[in-house]
Symmetry: C2
């Protein structure tokens, strides 16, 4: 029902199917709240914290509790629909794993602005290192901390 507000790369129905498959497999229940959370996340199309999502849902008129938002975010992370990041900030940041696959983050240490980038060599490093130590790669997180060479580009600077 929210297809209009999402980008062309996000297929909410597909995510819901992925989610319900997971819930069924784990013998968890299908609740309205769980699917509502997924709907709202698809609308966001950006990094968000649990609390930001909670406030967004309240502002959208949804009746939901913080506890349910947190618990659903856990479920969605466990079934790999969401990626959970820990940047410098205190709170965990989430994003749809399908939104832009396998990208990493360049973070300005002056203003905290986050730029997404994609570099296939990260994948090969992951492959090589995991093989070397006898591990099965699951996912990675490469964070580059840097400062703008030209401060005028650092528009988020305060």
């Amino acid at each position: 029902m929210n297809k209009e507000s999402t980008t062309e790369s996000i297929n909410v129905e597909e995510l819901k199917k992925q989610f319900s498959d997971y819930l069924r497999k784990k013998k968890y229940r299908n609740t309205l709240e769980r699917y509502l959370v997924l709907d709202r996340i698809a609308e966001l199309d950006q990094h968000f914290s649990a609390d930001e999502l909670y406030v967004y849902m309240l502002n959208s008129g949804d009746k939901i509790s913080r506890a349910t938002v947190y618990s659903t975010l856990d479920l969605l992370s466990n079934c790999r629909i969401l990626m959970k990041h820990r940047f410098q900030s205190e709170s965990a940041k989430f994003e749809l794993a399908s939104r832009l696959p396998h990208h990493d983050h360049l973070i300005c240490i002056e203003c905290g602005h986050i730029i997404e980038f994609r570099d296939p060599s990260v994948e090969s490093i992951q492959q090589k290192v995991c093989e070397q130590f006898g591990f099965e790669p699951i996912e990675h997180s490469l964070q580059l901390f840097a400062v703008c060479k030209d401060p005028r580009h650092c528009e988020h600077n305060q």
Copy 2:
């Protein structure tokens, strides 16, 4: 004075000089507590959280407060003597930047065990991406999340 308990790669006196240079430059004061914290960190030679360091210092007979430990860890991170990491856990983890330069982390998502590795290609990615977006690289953090192929290797598994 703690040279005996540190590995050959850590030069505490050099770190103290680096620290005092920073303090002078920033017009911060030289206090016994600040250098004591640095001494104890050099003894640890592993990842540690602020609270772990605080407890370690108490057990070592030091009289220091949590607040001072936290504030000194901030200073040491700001002057790049320490690296501050955020792995999956709630608390931030620190380590001496000079301990093993430019290494990254392979983390078992089953047991949380952390393996350090070093791959020069990470450096070149950092260089390339920062150049592309007009940034000055400062540091990076590559975390590979994986599981042991052979569960017997996952000795930390509970």
